[in-house]
Symmetry: C2
Subunit: 405 residues, 2 copies
């Protein structure tokens, strides 16, 4: 039976209909980086929590801001981390440190740089337009107690880590990482630390897949299944119970030992498509289990696995985890003329750079085709050349998919 090949855009549409069953979990603050918040975070006090001194200097009362300068008797020193002092006389001053509470009774801070000290007296000859609340970070101007300062669904980067610490979250509720199984198939595969026979190769796709997922905050476990029908069936049934997402590499071409589509069918994993009008990665298979779990069966050629995981699996997963990274451009300009004459979408390996006007340019890095994994290390993205066009001109803007960010 010939499979109906579908367009890449339809692949996105079909996959996007599958929702990952998302759980949440509590993690320690120091483990939260890269995760997505599963709760709103509220300010537990005003920020700043008090009128905070913003410069090292002296705290005085604004009635003393004489245009001709003034001299103050030092009453004391207000340190950061010390209880609030009180300025007893408006004509006096208290030395104040950055980050300390503004002493009760003071309402202006004059930096040391404008002062001169003699004994226990400090003179300011020029107040330089200082006024009520100058050099004071006033209580509550940034946030009021109870304000939502981080929202559910927000990604936790280093800035959010700082905020979480500030408001007292040493643990935080985040979107739980899905359980992902990465499954290599094929009798030709041997372990990385083995010396392959002439006709064998080492397992590599499962490791690059695992790394792609890890780079995006998702752990995964690796399995290797040999091409034996009954064994495949039992193992895959178990894996589909145990994991949230199954990602296969190999076993979906038209070969005699490409049992996967049949096994999936018998296990009630319903095929959504088998075959995409693209190069590389044409034999890509995708299905849904009875429990609505996604099964990605990617073609086994290294570059095909790599393209399919970066072009389809990752954007879907990222979207599911609300783990949006939208700071990279989604389009780039081809920097030479390029032809691809087959009626397939071609994912061209490119090296990107920015020209002097800041436009993202894409330079083709052509290598040995879908088996040539090492060529991928010289490029950093795939440029998507649509099927309905044969000749692409220098300067044409096209969708781009980064795999090195």
């Amino acid at each position: 039976m010939q499979n109906q090949l579908i367009e890449p855009s339809l692949v996105d549409e079909i996959i996007s209909k599958v929702s990952l069953a998302i759980g949440t979990e509590k993690v320690n603050l120091q483990e939260a980086l890269g995760k997505t918040l599963a709760e709103d975070i509220h300010a537990d006090r005003d920020f700043p929590p008090f009128n905070r001194v913003a410069m090292d200097g002296i705290g005085i009362h604004d009635s003393m801001l004489n245009p001709n300068g003034n001299t103050f008797l030092v009453e004391g020193v207000q340190a950061a981390g010390a209880p609030q002092l009180t300025l007893k006389e408006n004509t006096n001053c208290i030395e104040v440190m950055t980050g300390s509470m503004l002493p009760e009774g003071a309402n202006v801070v004059i930096p040391y740089e404008w002062t001169e000290k003699q004994g226990d007296k400090i003179t300011v000859s020029d107040f330089k337009h200082a006024e009520f609340m100058t050099n004071i970070h006033q209580q509550g101007v940034d946030q009021k107690k109870g304000d939502v300062i981080l929202s559910k669904g927000q990604q936790i980067t280093s800035a959010e880590i700082g905020v979480l610490a500030t408001v007292g979250y040493d643990q935080v509720e985040v979107i739980a990482a899905p359980k992902i199984a990465v499954i290599a198939t094929g009798d030709e595969l041997v372990a990385v630390n083995e010396v392959p026979k002439d006709y064998q190769i080492r397992m590599s796709n499962c490791y690059s897949l695992q790394a792609t997922l890890k780079d995006n905050g998702c752990q995964s476990d690796i399995y290797h299944l040999v091409d034996e029908y009954d064994l495949l069936k039992t193992k895959i049934e178990n894996l589909s119970n145990e994991y949230d997402i199954l990602v296969f590499s190999g076993g979906v071409s038209k070969g005699k030992f490409d049992y996967l589509p049949k096994v999936f069918d018998e296990l009630g994993i319903v095929k959504q498509f088998h075959g995409v009008k693209q190069r590389p990665g044409k034999p890509f298979w995708f299905g849904i289990t009875k429990d609505e779990k996604a099964v990605f069966a990617l073609p086994g050629n290294p570059v095909s696995t790599f393209l399919c995981s970066n072009r389809y699996l990752l954007p879907w997963l990222t979207h599911q985890l609300k783990n949006n990274q939208d700071n990279l451009p989604t389009k780039a300009y081809l920097d030479v003329d390029y032809s691809f004459k087959k009626p397939l979408t071609y994912f061209l390996q490119v090296k990107t750079y920015f020209d002097e006007t800041g436009r993202l340019m894409a330079q083709p890095v052509t290598g040995g085709g879908s088996g040539d994994l090492s060529n991928l290390t010289s490029a950093n993205a795939f440029l998507e050349l649509p099927a309905d066009q044969d000749n692409f001109e220098k300067g044409q803007q096209l969708p781009i998919w980064f795999y090195k960010k």
Copy 2:
């Protein structure tokens, strides 16, 4: 004593003169992601290692490519992962699977899609321009045995992980992560899980610093030192022996309890500068220990710590580790007019986006100044507005420093 403030560009120049004493370490393949190769990686065999079948179909001899088609007796099936078969008669064929060895005697692969099977015979009515070596990925075209396929200094992303697995590296020599101590100072700081008194705040800078480093592949340990002169001296001496890099937050302003510069001096940590003509982060202190280790003492305001670590510490560290990430633009276009009238370089918090022509645009996100960490979560980068200009026009291209990538 008044310190001589220096320009941001001079900061880069001074810091760049410090070389991190880089060691190497062997790590497991699955731990190597994000690290930098400390050895050249050679192909241990040709790639492909044999003439590899690129399509499921039949292997035949090119003398049989008759324009009128031909019919072949099937001699056998060549599976992937099985020893090489031999085609006994040029008039016969062997069924071949993607990834398998090309049978001895065959030199063309015809995909199943062009064939028809009847009993033990397979007919091809149209060879569609197939010729010698069509659909065969020839031995050694991608790499020859002994070729350097990954070079020392190259960053290990998911693509490199795949290559390393392919050539048998289950362990790999990488640049060792430096030992970094992140040290919070200040008596006003309490632990994240404590409820601060009125005049106290929770430690947060050390956590955002740690996260910034972690996001860039570097682990660090956190310490909190109170403002007690002798204690500071003993502890810092120990830390400077134990760690490769010391990063302080707080204690470098002009306050009475800002002991760090004096302690550093007594410990023989030679000041390179104290004070940068910038906002935020003006009191930034940097020095070098007797063992040529870098000591970054960052101002304690949350946004100041954050700016200084992302603008100076991180680019230096990344360069030292040869861990180049050059896929993000280094300049952006201001998307509104903006004024900053002080003779300081101003690091403006911005939210970036790409316009329809693909230019990176920067939109100011103004908040509560250097204490307002939560404003950072709404922006994703700092736009560097140079000191020698007061008014910046919409459309001006300026250096940009991302902290969310």
